[in-house]
Symmetry: C2
Amino acid sequence: MGGKKEAKEMTQVLESPGSKEPTSRDESVMRGFSKLSKEEKIDLILSKFLEQESDQKELLKSFWHKNEKLQKTLDEFSENTLSNFVLPFGVAPNIVINGENYCVPMVIEESSVVAAASKAAKFWMERGGFKAEILSTKKVGQVHLHFSGEPKELKKLFNQYKSHLFKVVAPLTSNMEERGGGLTSLSLKDLTHKEEGYFQLWAEFETCDAMGANFINSVLEALGKELNILVAKDLKMEREEDFEVIMAILSNYTPECLVKAWVDCPVEQLADKSLGMSPEHFAKKFSKSVRIAEMDVNRATTHNKGIMNGIDSVILATGNDFRAVEACAHTYAARSGEYKSLTHCRVENGHFHFEIEIPLSLGTVGGLTALHPLAKMSLELLGNPSAKELMAIVAVTGLAQNFAAVRSLTTTGIQKGHMKMHLMNILNHLETNEEEREKARIHFEDEVISFSAVSEFVKNLRSYQ
Amino acid sequence: MGGKKEAKEMTQVLESPGSKEPTSRDESVMRGFSKLSKEEKIDLILSKFLEQESDQKELLKSFWHKNEKLQKTLDEFSENTLSNFVLPFGVAPNIVINGENYCVPMVIEESSVVAAASKAAKFWMERGGFKAEILSTKKVGQVHLHFSGEPKELKKLFNQYKSHLFKVVAPLTSNMEERGGGLTSLSLKDLTHKEEGYFQLWAEFETCDAMGANFINSVLEALGKELNILVAKDLKMEREEDFEVIMAILSNYTPECLVKAWVDCPVEQLADKSLGMSPEHFAKKFSKSVRIAEMDVNRATTHNKGIMNGIDSVILATGNDFRAVEACAHTYAARSGEYKSLTHCRVENGHFHFEIEIPLSLGTVGGLTALHPLAKMSLELLGNPSAKELMAIVAVTGLAQNFAAVRSLTTTGIQKGHMKMHLMNILNHLETNEEEREKARIHFEDEVISFSAVSEFVKNLRSYQ
């Protein structure tokens, strides 16, 4: 618990000889931590929580970028930064979308994901590629209000000042309007049937190629402040707290910022030696698997998790926010009242059709897109796409990922490919040489791979040398 | 679309003079890509998709770790790896859980998240700290079956061979059993009311300190294979496809791998100058905000997204799989049929209580936990916790994050802190010097921050020099 016990005590003795025995909790309290320099933070933490003999400081520093200015930029993305955490930055080539060929950057620590997306991309490249269509791009924000007066009074006030509210935020929205977006709609929702005195100012936005979080939040907070003024001026309130802006913030649930992507082909074109079954049988088995993810919540979660493997890896690579994308996608998956698959499959009249419909609120300008050098490169690699084009690319990567996963599951099983990668990781961990790796690769071709089995095998190999 | 048009054509001319005009799609097809070396992959991609004059190759290489062996390990986590994508690796100090003080590693690219968690940690450290309790640790797997015979025959077969099935997978489970886990339960679910011929072999597991995905999937695939043999041997099937294992895979939805974490104190102890209101008013406003996230789906998504900011940052730092954690958490949030907040707040008899209940399937051994040097260090920093202890730490970080976010939203508004960080990022982008940054900081103390406003301000500063 809480790190290195003995060393902590020792530090204590060294630092404050003669001081009274500290409580276990106080001893690790670090005051003014955020004000320390990066090196001071590292030194303090290592002395308190890690073994002193270790070379952990060198390890942390070894991940710093040698360009100090660039490293400073990276450090300032967040707070209390000690180093850079690294994740593999790879690519899935040959993803054909609406006739264009993309090499899609993917950032993911899980094995097999990039390989699976690449495999699905190649398979569908030879069958017409992926298609994608943007269905809508509306963003949403809410100012949550408490008003304990007569609902009709607040409604009257809102209607009276609606155009005034647009004007009040014009200095904030003018730039976005020049780019074709802005605050597009304002309405007042009476939700007093859900909670006493609860109203919402519901705002809709177009944010062009920006994800728009800061823009939307700034506009909403300005609207909230103005409402406070208008209500105080026009409505007679008995107590100050009879009207209150509870909070003003964008919604990450954007079901109308929606993209659809799909693949289709005649069933017989699904034929592929590696399936180990007829294309008809495969189409039936595949579509049944997707149907199971539409009716079984335990399967649906895992099925969608696989989709998000593909999606998040592009989200990360392009400097977008994967928590926002995850929250929105899963809420959307649950919108019917049952949590279901985000992909759907139909086999009709000898034709195979597999699609995804997913809300994605993304940006290709603003945020980290230009500040993170590798996010910037990812976007360049994709031809500096618009936000809409990126929505298509991300949705397709999710669909490709899901196709590969369900194909594996319904044919060879998912462990075959996955365990091969797992074997590599275990062999790295055991610090094997090339010869040992090759022997292990051959041995475990048809054997069950586990850490203990592999280390046993390597141990045996070594004992005979 | 799809990258650099002119340069692509130029490459084409240089590479295959006299060849016939390629179609737009063929021209970027890369065959045998995965077989190329890392440098060959980079050269090929840069030549096809990026401007040739740029120094992108140097940029990619500048992120490689100088220790080649370590870099090779990182490369082999995934496929087609070109470089390391970096995310800020920081810490939130002073997170007190059940009386122990933790310095929690967080990996996140979003500004304000680490600062918010740290602030909430300090606030609650002075009010008794966080409490956490593990409610259960059950993992789940499914073998999805199609059987078009008499349901009772399959049930009879399952009951007859149930203990045999445990024995069949004993070589796979013995190691886990030694550590106190294993395959704990097997049952057959008749789901023919949902889909013709649809059954599930439902398996439950304990996986100790491992997340257990590979273990569970290996056991499930072995169970599926054995079922195939047993059915073929004992049941008379007219056609081969009358019994089929559709797929065998763990479920990422683990509602019984559950942790609860909370804070509580007398309402008057919430007093804090920075609230700008009485502790009673704050408690009321705070709990109302949480209640809104329990009844409004648009708010719930955003509210939970904030929780996941905290959670995923620890998940990433400790080498766990954030897609699995996200999928499970959001499915759990939707389990009632309505998507709701994962945190809950009550103010009763002058007492404030705020809690999170969230399923978290985590590992502190296996996977990347020992292979990724910084994940390993994160776990060391946390005192090499058990999986249960990590569940508590992660849940608490999510709760701390949510407390800070809702506190900001209901007091100063979220933009104040967020925009300060945003300003820093914009100033970095504009390559400002220290003096310009300081002037901008003062100017934008009470001004709305947008990219255009800041660049205008900096432009003006510079024109007067």
